[in-house]
Amino acid sequence: MFGIEPVSKEDDEYRSYLADGEFRCQKCLDCGHLRAPSQPICPECLAEYYCWEPVSGVAIVETFTWYLKPFDDRCTQVPYNVALVRLSEGPRLITNIVDVSMNDLQVGLGVRARAVRGNQGRPIVVFAPGT
């Protein structure tokens, strides 16, 4: 098994806000670019300085898939979905849509952020239908 485990100072900060129920993204102090997921430098202007900008949590579902059987021993609580959403502020995120049935989850659905604990016990942001 392999993959990308985000372990960084920025990721820790991101999750500590989520643990307090706050959803924030990094904003570059030089060029103002809002980025997600968190990373040490601005991908637009390469500046290091940033602040944690509160975001609205309003997003649109761009696409999704439903896991109807487990594809990994660590993620066995099927059915669940994984979705790509776009925040109204711009960045796209991989997430889950909760409180939604297979019938109701559609591309273009309006959703709102919610801070929860993920299946590995860490603070994550998921989204639920609603504007």
Partner: protein
């Protein structure tokens, strides 16, 4: 910047083992099996090789190029193993070594004997465990969901892909999955990663493959006709969904511009297309983004049988990764060379002279296409 590949680099020999189960054989042994066949196919001695390019998978399995060279008793000018290598990435690397004069004859070798061969699904990966985003197929599934939201697509569309791949595999003596499948069987298969059924996803299999590339001068002195590399383009979409249309494989369009521009051909000139198809939906994105049909038209093309052998654009006459075996796009190169030489017997695409290969890797972040021609 464009490279003029014209007749600089050719594939001179290919070798492929039977695909499927090889209990107790290591990936190195499978690689050697294939290399012996490729040397015999090229009609050259082992001592002519001065470059060895192998590949590893992201989980570290595959062939170590130094150890492999030691085992086959060679001191190459250069060895290389790309950390993630579909056949296209490895052959691009070999072609660069030859074009620059660093090597003259390079063997590209891959073998794999993964755990769960013939049973486990391909694409094992954990991209984001916190959200349960696992398996490379999930990226393909999200791409297909997006496609379905834009186009009216009959339920049978991806079934046509699988049925055609199995039909082709039945004509291929080394195929791992030559059993025919019906539309009824396909439609009865349950969804596992909606909108995909289990049958939409390739499984891992064991086998070996070797491709020998050489400079044009060397190739022209050999008995078999050279199959020249005419163009190759790659683009790595490292920014993922920061790119619009990322999951719809929009980056293929960038690669298409490079590869057709370099080759001076259009999709209408391609006689046979081979594509590394980890899942059925990959066919649709490939046909549309590389310009074999308009966006939204691939389902019709598939339903009309135009991608069959004898159709307007035959795709994977070997059966691809859903029929022949799963060696991350390496087997497709061997097929392309054999097709362009006219060696494929019952699955031969008549008069094939210009062939194209395409690959898509990881979570749709790595794209390559190459065009090969026979004189």
């Amino acid at each position: 910047m464009r490279q003029d590949w014209r007749k600089k680099v050719a594939v001179i020999g290919v070798g492929t083992t039977r695909q499927g189960l090889h209990p107790g054989r290591t990936s190195h042994q499978l690689g050697v099996d294939a290399l012996k066949m490729a040397l015999a196919d090229a009609g050259i001695a082992k001592s002519r090789l001065d470059g060895i390019v192998t590949a590893k998978q992201l989980d570290g399995t595959g062939i170590d190029p130094m150890q492999f060279s030691r085992e086959i008793g060679l001191n190459p000018n250069v060895t290389a193993a790309l950390d993630y290598a579909t056949g296209g990435f490895s052959t691009q690397h070999a072609a660069m070594l030859i074009a620059q004069g660093i090597c003259s004859v390079v063997a590209c070798v891959f073998g794999r004997n993964p755990r769960g061969a013939m049973v486990e699904l391909s694409g094992a990966a954990a991209y984001d465990l916190d959200h349960g985003y696992v398996s490379a197929h999930a990226a393909f599934a999200m791409g297909w969901t997006r496609y379905l939201s834009r186009h009216r697509v009959p339920e049978e569309t991806l079934g046509h892909v699988l049925i055609q791949q199995r039909e082709n595999a039945a004509l291929n003596p080394i195929a791992a999955w030559p059993e025919p499948i019906t539309m009824q069987q396909y439609l009865a298969d349950p969804y596992v990663l909606w909108p995909f059924r289990e049958l939409d996803l390739s499984r891992v299999s064991a086998g070996g493959v070797a491709l020998i590339l050489a400079s044009g001068e060397i190739a022209r002195d050999l008995e078999k006709p050279p199959v020249y590399l005419r163009a190759v383009g790659r683009r790595q979409a490292a920014r993922l969904w920061d790119n619009d249309d990322h999951l719809l494989c929009g980056t293929m369009r960038d690669v298409a511009e490079v590869v057709y521009g370099e080759a001076g051909v259009t999709p209408a000139d391609i006689d046979v297309l081979v594509t590394s198809d980890a899942c059925t939906a990959h066919f649709v994105h490939t046909l549309e983004n590389y310009g074999f049909c308009e966006e939204g038209q691939a389902p019709e093309l598939l339903a009309a049988g135009e991608t069959r052998i004898g159709g307007r654009i035959p795709v994977n006459p070997n059966g691809g990764q859903l029929g022949e075996g799963y060696l991350v796009g390496w087997l497709h190169h061997a097929e392309l060379v054999r097709q362009l030489r006219g060696e494929c017997g019952p699955r031969q695409v008549k008069g094939a002279r210009i062939g194209q290969y395409t690959a898509t890797g990881r979570q749709r972040e790595d794209f390559l296409a190459s065009i090969y021609v026979r004189d």
